[in-house]
């Protein structure tokens, strides 16, 4: 029964990973930017939630109506001020700019908040759980998993059903043709970046409620998000969920045997997927080609 429990807990943890990863996946799918500051932006979201909930004296969930719009605006600003400009300098510049941004954020947080680990107060939900037979399911983990599913479904619907989604898909397929047919690319990019940062902030709130965070947590978050994206397949939102779940199950099941090897197992799983199926499990052929840098082997 321990193993069944481990698998279920792992799946729920995987939902959290998918929630972190979907913004990264979206940014890459549309703008072709791997945002190396993605994890740090999630940590920023957690800190902002901490500040807001302390200031207003409310549980952390009540800060979301303020936090998410703020993160959306911050994402738009980053796109307009940094990422969009970096894109004009070729494909290398965004990598350098987002890495520089990551270094800045981590150290600004150190200055502003010291490197003490913090946690968020999730109220009654954080501690509540229910029983399924002999398995205990935490409401918090379940909430993270369901939120991930809701966010992914919402994004999928937005992308496939709305006119905004059509513009995004057209831009993602072929930037120049999209411009030719009159799509204003910059607002599209700005809104996509806004959504990506908002999902990162939301994920940051869950991370902060489930565990603790400090200014340097961002790099680890980035690595987990990245692994979920690659394992699931680049550019596939539901693939990201599957990738996250596979990672979560691996981590918890291996952790059940020996906690010290849990994260190592996830990293090795990632490297194994990279060996066997470099494009990930559910990737579109076009996206895989782009990730592999159109590099003709040989």
């Amino acid at each position: 029964m321990t193993w069944v429990n481990a698998v279920i807990q792992g799946m729920l943890l995987g939902g959290l990973y998918a929630l972190i990863a979907c913004g990264l996946s979206l940014t890459f799918g549309v703008m072709r930017i791997v945002n190396l500051a993605h994890g740090d932006l999630a940590v920023c979201g957690a800190y902002l939630a901490l500040v807001l909930s302390t200031f207003f004296g409310v549980p952390v969930w009540a800060t979301l109506p303020l936090l998410l719009p703020a993160a959306f605006v911050a994402g738009m600003a980053l796109q307009v001020l940094l990422f969009g400009r970096a894109l004009r300098h070729g494909v290398l510049a965004p990598v350098l700019v987002t890495f520089g941004l990551s270094v800045m954020i981590e150290n600004l947080l150190q200055v502003a908040a010291t490197s003490d680990p913090r946690g968020l107060n999730g109220g009654a939900l954080a501690l509540a759980s229910f029983h399924l037979g002999s398995i205990t399911v935490s409401w918090l983990f379940l909430a993270a998993f369901l939120t991930a599913c809701a966010v992914l479904s919402g994004l999928q619907l937005l992308l496939s059903r709305t006119s905004w989604g059509r513009k995004v898909r057209a831009t993602s397929d072929d930037l120049d043709t999209a411009r030719l047919v009159g799509i204003k690319v910059r607002p599209v990019f700005a809104t996509v970046a806004g959504i990506a940062v908002a999902t990162a902030a939301l994920a940051g709130v869950f991370i902060g409620t489930i565990g603790t965070f400090d200014p340097l947590t961002g790099t680890n978050i980035l690595i987990f998000a990245f692994e979920a994206v690659v394992i699931g397949g680049i550019g596939s939102l539901w693939g990201t969920l599957v990738g996250g779940v596979i990672m979560g199950v691996t981590q918890v099941v291996v952790g059940e045997a020996n906690q010290a090897y849990a994260v190592l197992a996830v990293n090795l799983l990632f490297l194994a997927v990279l060996t066997v199926r470099p494009g990930g499990l559910f990737t579109s052929r076009q996206a895989a080609g782009e990730v592999q840098g159109q590099g003709a082997p040989g």
Partner: protein, 366 residues
Amino acid sequence: MTRDTAIGSRDAEPSVTPVEVSRWSRTASAFTGACVVAVLILAVVPYVAGGPAEQPLITLLTFIAMASLWNLLAGFSGLTSFGQQAYIGVGAYGLYLVAAHGVNPFAGILLAAFVAAVVSLPVSALVLRLSGGYFAVATLVVATTFQIIATLSPSVGGTTGVSVPGLAGYGDVLREALTYWATLIVAVASVAGVYLLVRRTFGLDARAVGSDPVGAASSGVRVGRIRLLAYLAAAGGAGAVGALIALQTLYIEPTSAFSIQYSVDMLFMVLIGGMGTIEGPIVGALVLFALQETLSAYGAWYLVIVGGLAVVTTLVAPRGLWGWASERLGWSLLPVGYRVRPPAPPGRPASPGRAAPLAPPDPPRT
């Protein structure tokens, strides 16, 4: 070293005036001479100035080596690895392992470099499948994985770490002097090695791969082989640097041996100095050294400034300080491209190289 050639033969049509194509110049000769003198002066520092001068110079020379090697990867070949600390760590632990088996630690530097290059071979098969940001994060994952493996290996001290063995026979003065000389050799070898490598066809191929892999492949460049060579060379160099850092600190533990700070430093130096030039990383190393000496008291603010400068440089001056200076002043102290001079008008000597270089050091266009 001079490779002056004249294109256009005497039998050509009269309308075709011969242009002079050259790579080397008088400035470059003078600068190379100055470099040799500088290295000789640096080599006698332990006799003249002793320990107090050695320590900062060791830091600076380590920076120069790291920057030159990262430039080979990112600046020339377009492989922005943020996981070179994997090989710095492997080099440090490699030094520990060979020294624990009785090899002289200073001779062990070479072995550590070899170990790092060997380790990088299977890793390259994985990470070189990716490019751009995905390559960057995959290399970061590899570095994290190595760090966890080191943490879980009791034979190399686990989380606590190990001290470098085999140094008991050396007095402090001799040990520091030997470390200094070893650092000098590795720094000179990195700069000279990268320079000689990119002057060959490899340099042209690597820059082609860096700016447009598809175009390079379709022109017959063996993209995979170029990337592999750059990756192996940079990993071996990082291994040597890691061994040097172990000799400087005398203690190896996973968190600092695999610290991402090395990647931050490398990125910063190469960006500020100028990617894809030989001189740029040296300029960048001097800038980082100066910043560290003046600002490190401010702790995290120092790194905020470092990160901010990296962002601003990428967006505003993507060719870095050296790119900016060489453009303004027409300098090319260690040329990797060729210059074309307009034909000399009759009765006057050839104009002394004011013309634009034929193949300027590539802007980090990629």
